[in-house]
């Protein structure tokens, strides 16, 4: 009996791994043939995305995704880590608890709702104050929406790692004459850094991979943005938007876009894992 159950569990674990292999394999098989049409360098650094003329260059979208992720992660880290510090160290327990629950709620909101909120509330505000080529549909709108979306991840992970720092550290720091702020910034945050970094990786993954909400507020213009209020198209939005009707080379190009996205996310994950390991070893 035990052996059978063990096998079943193995089977279940195997299924999960198989899923990843299948998805990876599927994208590879569908995307690779495209590179006989356009070579990798032209595809990555091509400035024009014109499926009607079978000209495929995703450089503008790579740039847009990079800016959007960088922007939202910066905002997310600043606000998120500060919030986590306030929740764990400064607020009285009951208030902190309420705050914590609200943030959980924020994590549960479906992305399309964020997108809709962005389209109906944030975009008109941006249009009124900045105008811009897309009338508020812009890189800035994307960054704002993504910041909202990744906040819960960063706050939760930071909160958990801050709480995991042993109390002895605190006592030790105070005994050495550290003030509360000195303890938080010089001892606690440093001790919790690997957990916080893990949170940031998750957040980067989410920001880079988010599609629906971004598509609604980005304006989806496949051009390199020259300012933060220009409309942009991210890699994910490119795939989601055009897949429905694409055929032939165009479809292959979208799969190849997916392949690039897959590679980028895997590389980020690997780099960050290595970084965390290095930090933990110290």
């Amino acid at each position: 009996m035990e052996k059978t159950m063990k096998n079943i569990f193995w089977l279940c674990a195997g299924l999960t791994v198989m899923c990843i292999l299948f998805i990876g394999g599927f994208i590879l098989i569908k995307g690779i043939p495209f590179f006989s049409h356009t070579n990798l360098i032209e595809f990555l650094f091509g400035q024009h995305w014109m499926p009607s003329g079978e000209i495929f260059g995703i450089y503008p979208m790579l740039v847009a995704s990079f800016y959007a992720t960088l922007g939202s992660i910066t905002v997310g880290i600043i606000i998120g880590i500060s919030t986590a510090i306030v929740i764990t160290q400064i607020l009285p327990t009951r208030l902190a608890d309420m705050c914590s629950k609200t943030i959980d709620l924020l994590a549960g909101i479906p992305s399309i709702i964020y997108g809709f909120f962005g389209l109906m509330v944030i975009v008109p505000i941006l249009e009124k104050h900045f105008g811009g080529k897309g009338g508020g549909l812009s890189l800035l709108a994307v960054i704002i929406i993504l910041s909202f979306m990744i906040l819960p991840t960063i706050i939760r992970m930071t909160e958990v790692s801050l709480r995991a720092v042993p109390n002895e550290f605190k006592e030790g720091a105070y005994a050495l004459g550290a003030t509360r702020l000195q303890y938080i910034f010089k001892v606690q945050l440093k001790a919790a850094k690997s957990g916080i970094l893990a949170g940031i990786i998750l957040a980067i993954g989410r920001a880079l991979g988010e599609t629906m909400a971004v598509m609604l507020v980005a304006g989806n213009t496949p051009l390199i943005p020259s300012s933060i209020i220009d409309p942009v198209r991210t890699i994910t939005a490119n795939i989601a938007m055009e897949m429905a009707y694409a055929a032939g080379v165009h479809q292959q190009a979208l799969f190849a876009t997916g392949l690039i996205l897959f590679v980028i996310i895997i590389s980020i994950n690997i780099c960050m894992q290595l970084l965390i390991k290095k930090l933990e070893r110290r």
Binding site: G135, M241, Y245
Partner: protein, 277 residues
């Protein structure tokens, strides 16, 4: 021991059961598979509903996946009927499909209701979408920069619009769409309509069936986009809705097509599109 075996059995049964559900159950009667343009799929689903009352034995499966995929599916036989919301391209002619026009659709150029411009010529529409005209004052409106809102590449409505207006240019020896690159791109008729409705200086295009009070349709060369004007041939931004079959049609298929082109079928189509008969 007995109990654990029973549990194990249940566990496996659940797994196989779940897998089988995905495969779907076989229904009795003939199945007609209709695949293609989402524009045609909408009325096709209503046609299917009405037809199932007349011929309950015939099972019609409608999949809206886009015109190009519809043409392909009809060509390689994965679908009994293909649907397309545009003219068949030269490269697709060699598939040897029978084309049947079941309706006509007009594309309306829409602006925000507050916009004072109510009429444009086809040339002005072209210039606006190409980015040569960038301010509403150039066409008699307020001094505001125009925000061009366009459908995504591959959309049937977009390619029909580009073809009719002549939005094509030469780029490094290839024919590409000449819609201004800074145009905002939205996916789907609904999203374009919503974006135009929320931007006072926006201009976009949607299928005639999508027009409501949130946007204001422009007259083109002085002709209002309407059913009568499209059928009379006065309103020129229009396209055919096609169904495609390959080779000899079976009796069931012929009957269904006759139903679409018949009185009842055309009446259903007329709810959103322009019937041909």
């Amino acid at each position: 021991m007995m109990k654990t075996k029973l549990l194990l059995g249940l566990f496996l049964a659940t797994i196989t059961g779940t897998m089988l559900i995905g495969c779907g159950s076989a229904e009795s009667g003939t199945t007609i598979k209709v695949v293609g343009s989402t524009t045609v799929a909408a009325p096709m689903e209503k046609l299917d509903e009405a037809y199932s009352l007349i011929q309950p034995d015939i099972n019609i499966e409608v999949q809206g996946v886009g015109s190009s995929a519809g043409v392909k599916a009809a060509g390689d036989g994965t679908a009994d009927i293909g649907m397309a919301s545009r003219e068949i391209k030269e490269s697709e002619k060699e598939l040897g499909l029978n084309e049947i026009v079941i309706a006509k659709d007009a594309i309306a150029v829409v602006t925000h209701p507050a916009n004072t411009v109510k009429n444009l010529t086809k040339e002005q529409v072209k210039d606006i979408f190409e980015g040569t005209i960038t301010n509403w004052s150039e066409v008699g409106g307020a001094d505001k920069d125009i925000i061009v809102i366009c459908r995504e590449d591959g959309s049937g409505t977009r390619s029909a619009f580009e073809e009719i207006i002549g939005l094509e240019k030469d780029f490094n020896g290839k024919t590409v769409s000449s819609v201004v690159p800074t145009a905002v791109i939205q996916e789907g008729n609904g999203a374009v309509k919503a974006t135009v409705a929320s931007k006072e200086s926006g201009i976009g295009f949607v299928s005639l069936g999508y027009i409501d009070d949130t946007v204001s349709p422009l007259n083109i060369n002085g002709v209002e986009p309407s059913v009568t004007n499209t059928l009379a041939g006065d309103y020129t931004i229009s396209r055919p809705l096609l169904i495609l079959t390959k080779g000899e049609e079976s009796a069931e298929l012929q009957e269904f097509i006759e139903f679409i082109l018949g009185e009842q079928g055309q009446e259903i189509i007329s709810e959103n599109y322009i019937p041909v008969k």
